[in-house]
């Protein structure tokens, strides 16, 4: 075959190539050791010198031309490949492993954040309490039916002989609510103040979908010269609406706790759920004046409100969790969702 013919054919063929494999076949055919061009070079040695030189030059030019065709095509193909194959937008991103905070931590943070916006301070108290702080100081006397509202885990006393008399006075228990910290705080501080007390509480209660013997509360206490029932409604409404991003309705109704008067209960309903029930989230009321008196505050000078918010309850409503036991089950399939 004539050189020009080889050149024309190769050029025509290369334009039709669309894959790397075909290009490699093309290379073998036109530039390989057994290609016609190669055979042509081999045949040169039999030619006279002058002819050998001119034909050789020409063949070299053809080879260079074909090689550049090859290079160019190769680049084109690679470029096309990276455009269409290596950059797939639909391919999943790399999975980045991360840790998770517990949903109760997340919800507690939201609650606290909302209260902090309006100047509430975070205070904590002990989980092992005395019956004085948990009950008596809160006007919940022994052998009074009101005490039955708080089923209690008592602690087996470990009394040293020297303490026998003393220990009778205050029995130890696991706090049934965060309210004892109201007293502990007031014993050490003068109003005005506004505090919230997050913490773990315990009730002597069998565990099921709705009940846990261990749960969390956020207690609140705001005392000043003129903190009124209307102020209570305002602050609770603002905070609960903030926590639920204004997707919630509130309802205030009567309740009873010996350490407040009057006592109230706060229910909420999620707006987006049309036929949903009212859900109880908080017990509250105006601080009973007897508490101030027992603390030793000046009579008739201070008034305010207190409340106890159920944290699991808020988390269940927020995340649609139906089984309270999941919070303490430490199941990685649950924890990984938050």
């Amino acid at each position: 075959m004539e050189l020009d013919q080889i050149k024309a054919e190769a050029e025509k063929r290369v334009s039709q190539i669309i894959s790397q494999k075909d290009l490699e076949n093309w290379r073998v055919k036109y530039l390989g050791r057994k290609s016609e061009l190669s055979l042509f070079f081999d045949s040169l040695k039999n030619l006279p010198f002058q002819l050998r030189k001119t034909q050789g030059n020409k063949a070299n030019q053809v080879r260079q031309f074909l090689f550049s065709l090859y290079q160019q095509k190769k680049q084109n193909l690679e470029k096309k490949q990276s455009d269409f194959e290596s950059f797939d937008l639909t391919r999943p991103g790399e999975k980045i492993k991360k840790g998770h905070l517990h949903p109760l931590t997340l919800v507690l943070r939201e609650i606290i954040h909302s209260f902090e916006k309006i100047g509430f301070e975070v205070v904590e108290g002990p989980e092992i309490e005395t019956d004085y702080y948990n009950f008596d100081a809160l006007r919940i006397p022994e052998n009074h039916p009101a005490r039955d509202m708080w089923d209690t885990f008592w602690i087996k006393s470990k009394v040293l002989p020297a303490q026998v008399g003393k220990s009778q006075k205050s029995k130890l228990l696991l706090r049934t609510h965060t309210s004892p910290m109201q007293i502990r705080y007031m014993e050490k501080h003068q109003p005005p103040f506004r505090i919230i007390i997050p913490g773990k509480c315990f009730r002597f209660e069998a565990t099921d979908v709705h009940h846990e013997f261990q749960f969390h509360q956020v207690e609140g206490l705001m005392v000043g010269e003129n903190i009124s029932l209307a102020n209570f409604k305002f602050i609770i409404r603002e905070v609960i609406e903030d926590i639920f991003k204004h997707q919630v309705e509130l309802r205030f109704r009567p309740s009873y706790f010996p350490f407040v008067t009057p006592g109230l209960e706060v229910d909420i309903k999620i707006k987006s759920k049309s036929n949903d029930e009212w859900l109880e989230i908080m017990g509250a009321g105006m601080v009973h004046p007897q508490l101030f008196k027992n603390i030793g505050y000046e009579a008739n000078q201070w008034q305010g409100f207190a409340f106890g918010l159920g944290v699991e309850r808020i988390a269940m409503i927020k995340y649609g969790i139906v089984d309270i036991r999941l919070f303490f089950g430490s199941d990685i399939r649950f924890l990984g969702q938050f």
Partner: protein
């Protein structure tokens, strides 16, 4: 508590449907739900403890509904015929205990015990009571109406006293005394238990349950009906001691109004005459053993606005109070408010003001922003510290858990004596599974591993919470703990070093200096009985916490197979070490040169020793960083190969290669003296 909707409607004559009424009661009194018995609506009201005394009867509830609906309510007057013969000539009552505050009785002769009429049975059943016979049912019916528990004795079964009268004595039990109640169950009594007796024997456990001795039977004709008032706390205690809780005891516990007794006994007489016939003897025997404390509460008109935050007109206040049965005397600047006797929960201004707000509707009343000075809240350092640690541990790819604070009997058994002796036990656990307070986070963590190995091969959990023990005065201590676990077991214990790395990372993040704490073996700590090996961090002589590998028998006990590392660090001392102010370090002016060195050395030469040797042997060393440890087949037994990055830098010049070579030679020499074979 169940109430009949029809019955209430008869008493109040309202137009509201049962659902509407339930909604009103929920908003103004207590949470109420509607259910049905056939076509008859039943209201189930979750009465608040302070309102049991006055709303637990249909009359009381009717009065409350009337107030809510802005209507008045009058108690119906009992109507019945009395005989000429007086009850007094046949019975006498003696109260011998302060726990009985009032005792009222009547006598009815020639009743006929039989089955109750249908309407009576229906009312009882609607309210959750079982019909028995017309006399007992009448007593229960009267209780449902008035809220006052009532009891009926067989007149003929009561002993005559010396004066030939039936004498009823209310006294406390004698030591060792016993009573058999109506369901034929004997109870051993204590001296604080209150009894209704005749001169010979106990007839009833006061306020709780009737006795067998004077029980009605089908032949009973002559009866004594009693209506009494007892001390709530005493009844509560007896009921608790004997484990005998009845409808009556529950009502008495809530401190009923002693004045209710006389009214209720008349209502009962009327109903018995209606359903069982009989002749009511003239008059009641009524022994009063208390002085009623009528209270008058003066309340300034200014108090209302101050306490509630909005103003209510005088007229409105007075109207609402009267609807609730309060009597009110108006003065120029204040009101004299007398709460009705059945409202023993009303003791002071705030109670009265609260009642008016309640009747206005807690849901209706205004909500107003406080007009307070701005108080800048003080930061709670501890709370924020804990939250910060949580955020960091999350970044270290750990999952936060909230485990139970309680551990089981079995958990206790694995602990060594010293740990067992400081365990805090519950006096009344729910079950063996939760009976001690956790002394460490480890035990529940080990349970977590087993639970989760079904779903994953590697676990990285942490918790910040309390551990509890008798060892300190506070009895509780906040710690942050973590557990790392892997199903496959590798001899080199890399999880321990991962755990150590996390703790070191946190410590560095807190800006704590290496000189502020020291590391020792755990052998001298209490943790040595739960951990196989590990390190203890100390601040001065105080234990800050431990990082280690749990003992094999612990892993076996909790069915954990694989590798585990654990830590537990006390939060308060850790926080005390935190460097609040951190100073910026100027960026270096001259470049660093990095050289690597690898060598084979005996395993028993501690890394700490090697690091010190390197650092002390050369100048310009800014950092020494261990990046590879190899021990394996190609190395002689007991040896390992270590590789370090050595970072050289001068603060005055760019170091030349020859200068660094010189330092490297010193390092080689020092390492060789330690027995290292430089590779």
């Amino acid at each position: 508590m169940k109430f009949s909707f029809e019955w209430l409607k008869e008493l109040v004559k309202f137009k509201e449907s049962s659902e509407k009424l339930a909604e009103l009661l929920t908003l103004y009194l207590a949470e109420t739900k509607v259910s049905f018995r056939g076509t008859r609506a039943i209201l189930d009201i979750d009465l608040l403890p302070n309102r049991v005394a006055d709303v637990s009867g249909h009359f009381g509830l009717a009065r409350e509904i009337s107030a809510i609906l802005n209507k008045g309510f009058n108690y119906p007057q009992p109507e019945f015929k009395e005989e000429k013969e007086t009850a007094k000539s046949w019975i006498t009552i003696t109260i011998k205990s302060p726990y009985c505050r009032r005792y009222v009785a009547r006598t009815i002769w020639h009743v006929k015990v039989k089955s109750s009429p249908q309407w009576l049975k229906e009312r009882l059943e609607d309210c959750g009571l079982k019909p028995i016979n017309n006399i007992v049912d009448a007593a229960n019916y009267a209780m449902l109406l008035t809220g006052q528990p009532l009891h009926v004795f067989d007149f003929q079964k009561i002993a005559f006293n010396k004066k030939k009268k039936k004498e009823i004595i209310i006294r406390q039990a004698k030591k060792g005394e016993q009573i058999t109640t109506l369901e034929r169950k004997p109870y051993q009594l204590k001296e604080n238990n209150l009894l209704i007796c005749d001169t010979k024997q106990p007839l009833a456990l006061a306020g709780i349950k009737g006795g067998l001795a004077a029980e009605l039977d089908k032949d009973t004709q002559l009866i004594i009906i009693e209506s009494a008032n007892f001390d709530g706390a005493n009844i509560h205690l007896t009921s608790k001691e004997l484990g005998l809780k009845t409808d009556a005891s529950w009502r008495f516990e809530h401190h009923l109004d002693p004045d209710l007794t006389a009214y209720a006994v008349d209502i009962l007489a009327q109903i018995i005459q209606q359903v069982a016939g009989g002749e009511i003897l003239k008059g009641k025997i009524d022994v009063i053993n208390y002085s009623s404390h009528k209270i008058v509460i003066p309340i300034n008109f200014t108090s209302w606005g101050k306490f509630l935050g909005w103003s209510i007109s005088r007229e409105e206040i007075i109207k609402k109070l009267r609807l609730l049965g309060f009597s009110v005397i108006e003065r120029k600047k204040y009101l004299l408010v007398k709460p009705p006797l059945y409202r023993n929960d009303i003791e002071r201004d705030e109670d009265v003001i609260g009642e008016v707000a309640r009747l206005q509707g807690f849901d209706q009343i205004p909500s107003l922003s406080p007009k307070e000075e701005v108080i800048f809240p003080v930061k709670n350092e501890l709370w924020e510290f804990k939250e910060k640690i949580k955020d960091w541990l999350r970044v270290y790819r750990l999952e936060e858990v909230y485990n139970y604070s309680l551990i089981s009997q079995k958990d206790k058994e694995i602990l060594a004596k010293d740990w067992q002796s400081k365990l805090i036990a519950l006096a009344n656990p729910i079950s063996d599974l939760f009976c001690y307070l956790r002394p460490t986070l480890l035990l529940n963590f080990l349970k977590n591993i087993n639970d989760n190995f079904r779903f994953t091969d590697k676990i990285k959990f942490f918790e910040i919470g309390e551990i509890y023990h008798w060892a300190t005065k506070e009895k509780e201590e906040t710690v942050f703990g973590g557990i790392l676990a892997k199903k496959e077991k590798i001899l080199k214990q890399p999880l321990f070093y991962e755990a150590k790395g996390i703790i070191e990372g946190i410590i560095t993040d807190l800006g704590i200096d290496k000189d502020d704490y020291s590391i020792k073996s755990i052998e001298k700590t209490e943790y040595f009985s739960i951990l196989e090996k590990g390190m203890a961090l100390y601040v001065k002589n105080q234990l800050l916490g431990v990082v280690g590998i749990p003992k094999k028998n612990f892993l076996k006990k909790y069915d954990v197979e694989g590798e585990v590392a654990f830590w537990e660090i006390k939060i308060l001392p850790l926080m005390a070490l935190e460097q609040a102010e951190r100073e910026y370090e100027p960026l270096p002016q001259y470049p660093a040169a990095i050289r690597d060195v690898s060598f084979i050395i005996k395993k028993d030469i501690l890394i700490d020793k090697i690091l010190k040797t390197i650092q002390e042997s050369a100048s310009y060393l800014e950092d020494v960083d261990l990046f590879d440890i190899y021990e394996g087949e190609n190395l002689p037994f007991g040896k390992q190969s270590l590789s370090f990055h050595l970072i050289f830098r001068s603060s005055e010049k760019t170091l030349k290669a020859e200068e660094i070579d010189k330092e490297m030679k010193k390092i080689y020499k020092a390492l060789q003296q330690l027995g290292a074979l430089i590779r």
